[in-house]
Structure formats: structure tokens, C-alpha cells
């Protein structure tokens, strides 16, 4: 039974647990965390089983309620989906694990059941977006994700409700654009099933309605994935959110948005539409993405707040993925998909570190990180792994996706993109060296000079084990993905790219 129903179980288990947590939370608050953890663990195990099944037997179709498409809702899991499912459920599992000690400190006790309920709903939505093969079902899950995200972000520090409100406005506009796009497609084709749309749309490529639907889709999803210049909601929202929330939404939400962009452009509209009927779409996406990479890197350099700095790096990383989609040859798309996977790990790693630092020191100011290498050596080691990966030092995974993106840009003679990627790498070196310098190196003017020259004694004071284990698992993941990136490309990504590119 489990093996047959894997695609729906991945979504249903966290969904049902989300409501179970509320009911049990009214009786006994301590039960919320372990139950939420078990549900996410189950989702992760199911995703891993599904990935194995897809690699062995190919694409899996699942029909909700036994109704065949295009009438019923279909769940389709191919190589790209399956990899994304494992990725999202792994990152969710790590952040949920981490949220145990972290949420206890940051979330008021009376709100813990609601917190975990929303957390699980967020995970449900993210997994649902990835697993579904239906345009409208995708919208529903997109809204589940966004609405629970708004509420979770608003639980953060003092100004978080304002940031969440900005996010509500921007996110709702994005959702409207996506919904309008689905509506236009439904007007001309009468179908909502992605595979069915892919079959019907090639006859309608000349239609202005399809063109409008495509443009609306790009705008809507750009808002949701925070593509420059529509990223303005992101830095505030993700900086002010509780640590355990930003570790969940920052790595996954933007990546899932990038997945949707990839899926709809290449699987629904088809590569032929955007590459040959309106190549300008790829040009515009490419320039926006280049802008995102430069803007994100420069703004990251301007920040004192560690978490805000990471959010700007996130904006830049979204740019990298979209550069790959915009170049759209085999190399670049390999780089884009690999970067979706890598970046989820890198951002997860860095946001976990940021949360641990806030947990122990209560500050996010980079200039207050002095002596952190003595106080929290393990956390700092994880920070180094994440930082090196974002910069792109082999064998960390960040190097390989950048390498493929550059190869793709070379093959397409897009010299500007290569320049942009290399420039941003230099910026990243500067950005992270500033953090590492403050955390590791002795200050030039000792802070202890005024109290008689006595060196400040810094005791070993590491984050709790419940936060350290997820951090280390993600850091090990970064290295493993880097070392085995060849295997990942050969067994998964190769099949995820449309055959006619």
C-alpha cells in the first residue's frame, strides 16, 4: 500500500499531522515537536523511496480519487521532481530538528502548537508544489506555502509583522499573476493538467492569450522566488523571521519557485515556445538575473547584519539559477538544476549557523563576532564550509554548479554572464572574508586595552546538540554533493533536462 501511494503520502502525512499537532497541543504541549519531527522524517523517507523508484523504473503517475487526467488531479514524479522532493524534505527535516531548541527560545510557549502546525503546513505546501502535475493544484499549494509563511514570519522579532505584511502584499500580487496566467491558459485550452497543456499548447503558439499567460506566469513566479527587481520583500521578511523559520523558508521557498519556473517553461510551454517563438523572454530573464547577481553581491557587502547579508546572497543565488534557465543550453540547465540543489544546502547551512549564533550570543552584527572561533568552534567550522561553498571552492558543491553555468555561458557566447558570475564570486570572497576575519582573527586594536591589558577570557560555549547535528549533516551534505556531483548529474539531472535541448 505504501509503495503504491508514495506520491500522495509525502503530502498527506505532514498535512494531517499539522492538524493533529494543534489538537494534541491543546492537551500536552511537549508532544508537538516530536510528532512534527516524526511526520517530516516520514516525508523524507517516502521521498527517498520515491527517488529510488523513479531512478529504477522511470516517471510515476498518481491519480487523485482514481479520476484520470485531464479531469482529475494528477501527481507526476519524474527525475527532477523526485530529486526536488528529497531536497525539500531533507532541508525541512533539518530545520525542524533544529527548531526544537531554537523555537523554545524564540516562540512564546502558548503559540508552540500553532507554530508547529504552520511549520508542517509550510512543508506540506512546498512538497505539494513539487509533486503535483496540475496547474491549479500548484496554485493551491503555492498559497498554502505562502499563507503559512506569512504567519510564521510574523512570529519573529519586533518589526517582523511589518515585514510579513509587506510580504503578504507582494506575495498576493504574485499569486494573482500566477492565477491569471492559469486562467488564461484554461480559457484557450480548457485544461489544467500540465501534460495535457503541453500537448495542446503547441497548436496555439501564435495566440496572444498564450503570450499573456506566459508573461503573467513569469511575473508571478518571479515575485514568489524573489527575482531582482521583485525581491524587495525578501530581505526584511527573512531577516526578521524566527531563526528556525528562516532556515526553512530561505533555502526552500526560492528554490521551489525556481523549480516551478523551470517546470512551466520547459514542460508546459515547451522549450520551443520560449526559445524560438519569443526568445526575448530568455533575454529579459537573463539580464534580470545578471542584475540580481550583481545587486545581491554588492548589497551583501554593504550589510553589518549577518542574516540580512545572507538574504542578499540568497537574492544573488536566485540570479545564478535564472542565468542558467536564461542561457538554456544543456550545460547551463545542468548548472541551473545542480545550483538549485546546491544552493538549498548552502543557504540551509548558513542560515542554520546564523540561527545558532543568535541563539548563543543574541547578536547578528558581524562586528560583534569577535572570538567566536573560541566560543563556538564547531559552528564556525560549519560556517567555513558554507562560505567556501558559496564562494565556489572545490570540493564544496557550489563550485560545480558555477562551473557548469560558466561552461554553458561559454558555449552560448554569453560573455557578460561569465563576467557577472566571476565578479560576484570576487564579491562573495570579500563578503565572507569579512565575517571570517571578525570571527577568527585577533582584533587589531584589542578591546581589552582599557581594563588593564588583561586578555578577554572566552569560554567554550557551543550551541545545543540538537542544533549542532543538523548543521553538521547539512555541512557534510555540501561536501558529499560536491564530491558526487558527477553521479547526481549522470543519474538524475541528465534525465531532467528536456531531450530536445
Amino acid at each position: 500500500m505504501i509503495s503504491k501511494n508514495l506520491p500522495v503520502l509525502i503530502v498527506t502525512v505532514p498535512l494531517m499531522t499539522a492538524f493533529l499537532v494543534v489538537i494534541l497541543g491543546l492537551l500536552k504541549r511537549k508532544l508537538c515537536y516530536p510528532i512534527a519531527f516524526l511526520a517530516t522524517l516520514a516525508s523524507f523517507i517516502f521521498s527517498a523511496m520515491l527517488l529510488e523508484k523513479v531512478i529504477l523504473h522511470g516517471t510515476i503517475h498518481y491519480y487523485q480519487g482514481g479520476w484520470l487526467p485531464p479531469w482529475g488531479i494528477e501527481y507526476v514524479v519524474d527525475h527532477l521532481n523526485a530529486a526536488m522532493l528529497v531536497l525539500v524534505s531533507f532541508v525541512s527535516l533539518m530545520s525542524l530538528w533544529y527548531s526544537g531548541p531554537s523555537a523554545e527560545k524564540e516562540i512564546p510557549k502558548s503559540k508552540i502548537p500553532y507554530f508547529y502546525s504552520l511549520y508542517l503546513l509550510q512543508i506540506t505546501g512546498l512538497l505539494g508544489i513539487v509533486v503535483t502535475g496540475d496547474m491549479f493544484n500548484l496554485y493551491v499549494f503555492l498559497e498554502i506555502t505562502s499563507l503559512s509563511g506569512y504567519a510564521l514570519i510574523a512570529m519573529g522579532e519586533k518589526h517582523a509583522p511589518m515585514a510579513a505584511f509587506n510580504y503578504v502584499i507582494m506575495g498576493t500580487i504574485g499569486a494573482c499573476f500566477y492565477l491569471l496566467s492559469v486562467g488564461y491558459l484554461y480559457i484557450v485550452t480548457g485544461s489544467l493538467n500540465m501534460a495535457d497543456l503541453a500537448r495542446l499548447l503547441p497548436h496555439l503558439y501564435g495566440s496572444k492569450v498564450v503570450l499573456t499567460a506566459f508573461v503573467f506566469f513569469i511575473v508571478g513566479i518571479s515575485l514568489k522566488m524573489a527575482l531582482f527587481p521583485l525581491h524587495i520583500w525578501l530581505p526584511d521578511a527573512y531577516t526578521l523571521a524566527p531563526s528556525s523559520v528562516s532556515t526553512l523558508v530561505a533555502p526552500t521557498m526560492t528554490k521551489v519557485g525556481a523549480y516551478v519556473l523551470f517546470r512551466i517553461i520547459f514542460s508546459v510551454f515547451g522549450p520551443h515556445f520560449s526559445l524560438e517563438v519569443m526568445p526575448i523572454a530568455h533575454n529579459i530573464l537573463g539580464w534580470l538575473a545578471a542584475g540580481a547577481v550583481l545587486f545581491g553581491s554588492i548589497m551583501a557587502l554593504a550589510q553589518r547584519d549577518f542574516k540580512r547579508m545572507l538574504t542578499y546572497i540568497l537574492v544573488a543565488e536566485v540570479g545564478y539559477i535564472v542565468i542558467g534557465v536564461a542561457i538554456a543550453n544543456r550545460m547551463a540547465l545542468t548548472g541551473a538544476i545542480l545550483h538549485i540543489i546546491n544552493d538549498a544546502f548552502m543557504m540551509s547551512c548558513l542560515f542554520l549557523v546564523a540561527g545558532a549564533i543568535v541563539y548563543k550570543t543574541g547578536t547578528r552584527d558581524i562586528y560583534q563576532f569577535r572570538f567566536l572561533h573560541k566560543k563556538m568552534p564547531l559552528t564556525m567550522a560549519v560556517l567555513i564550509v558554507g562560505a567556501l561553498s558559496v564562494i565556489g571552492v572545490p570540493p564544496m558543491c557550489g563550485f560545480f554548479s558555477k562551473w557548469y553555468l560558466i561552461l554553458g555561458a561559454l558555449a552560448a557566447h554569453k560573455w557578460v554572464f561569465i563576467a557577472v558570475i566571476l565578479t560576484s564570486t570576487l564579491f562573495n570572497v570579500a563578503v565572507f572574508f569579512r565575517v571570517i576575519e571578525n570571527a577568527y582573527l585577533e582584533p587589531r586594536e584589542p578591546a581589552y586595552a582599557h581594563d588593564g591589558g588583561q586578555p578577554e577570557i572566552v569560554k567554550f560555549d557551543e550551541a545545543p546538540i540538537g542544533m549542532l547535528i543538523p548543521m553538521f549533516l547539512v555541512a557534510i551534505g555540501i561536501i558529499l554533493i560536491g564530491v558526487f556531483s558527477g553521479h547526481i548529474i549522470a543519474s538524475i539531472i541528465k534525465f531532467a533536462i528536456p531531450a530536445n535541448i
Binding site: M1, F19, Q64
Partner: protein, 150 residues
């Protein structure tokens, strides 16, 4: 916090109307799969009856009949019934939400009707509870209890 409204006509009319509103809400839920209506519409009507009660008799009266904890539990239980019906179909060997596999001793078409009725019931409960919960959250003024149902 909404307080009691002292007016004999308004209070009497409310007392008379509320049972009929609630019966109508239940009717809309029960007929959802056969005629216009359904869980959402019926739930809104049920919720409206509680809101009318709150407007006229004050929030305390509503809390007496529908304690906050119970309301929060209703929000969760409704969706749980929905997803649980789907999961029950999984247990009996069908796909998710495949009501034809539910073990009712009736024809397949009727099984589907009963399955969707159970889903509508769940939706109705949740919508009703959420309406009252939003009303409560918006009408509680004090800064200390902002965002909590107190």
C-alpha cells in the same frame, strides 16, 4: 471585546433567528453534493449565526457556548476529517480520496456521495470555527492578548 447590546427587540429577534440560521446552515452542508451549496457555504452560515450571537449578546456569551479551546480544536478537526476520509480510502486499497473504495454497503455512486458528504462536513466545521476565531481575534482589543484568543 464586543459587549452586550441592550434592546428587547434586537435580542428577541436574535434569539428567534439563530436556530433557523443554524438549521439552514446544516441544510446547505447536507445538500452540498446535490444542489448549490456545500461545506464552505454552510460553514459560513453557521459561523454567521455565532457572529450574530456575539454582536447582540456579547463575546462572553459565545465563549460560554463555544469555548476557545474547543473552537481551535474544531478548526483542526474539520480538516482532519477531510484528509482522514482521503486516507481511509488509501487504507481500503483505493487512491487518495477514491470514495468508491469506502466500505459502505451501498452502490458505488452512493459511496461517492457519502464520501463527499463526509468531506463537506469537515469543511463546514472548519469554516465555521475559523470564522468565529477570526471574529474573536479581530475584536479583542487589549495589547497584551493581541493575536491570542483571550
Amino acid at each position: 471585546m464586543i459587549t452586550k447590546y441592550e434592546d428587547v427587540i434586537v435580542k428577541t429577534m436574535t434569539r428567534l433567528l439563530i436556530p433557523f440560521i443554524q438549521i439552514y446552515g446544516l441544510y446547505v452542508i447536507a445538500h452540498g453534493h446535490e444542489s448549490p451549496g456545500g461545506g464552505f457555504q454552510g460553514g459560513v452560515i453557521l459561523g454567521a449565526s455565532f457572529i450574530l450571537l456575539a454582536v447582540v449578546y456579547g463575546m462572553d456569551e459565545v465563549k460560554k457556548r463555544l469555548p476557545e479551546k474547543l473552537m481551535i480544536a474544531f478548526v483542526a478537526i474539520g480538516v482532519f476529517i477531510y484528509a482522514g476520509t482521503g486516507a481511509l480510502c488509501l487504507l481500503f486499497g483505493g487512491n487518495f480520496l477514491d470514495y468508491s473504495k469506502l466500505p459502505f454497503p451501498v452502490a458505488i455512486a452512493e459511496r461517492r456521495a457519502l464520501g463527499i458528504l463526509s468531506v463537506e462536513t469537515g469543511v463546514g466545521i472548519t469554516v465555521m470555527a475559523v470564522m468565529v476565531a477570526i471574529m474573536l481575534a479581530l475584536s479583542s482589543k487589549s495589547k497584551r492578548t493581541r493575536g491570542e484568543f483571550k
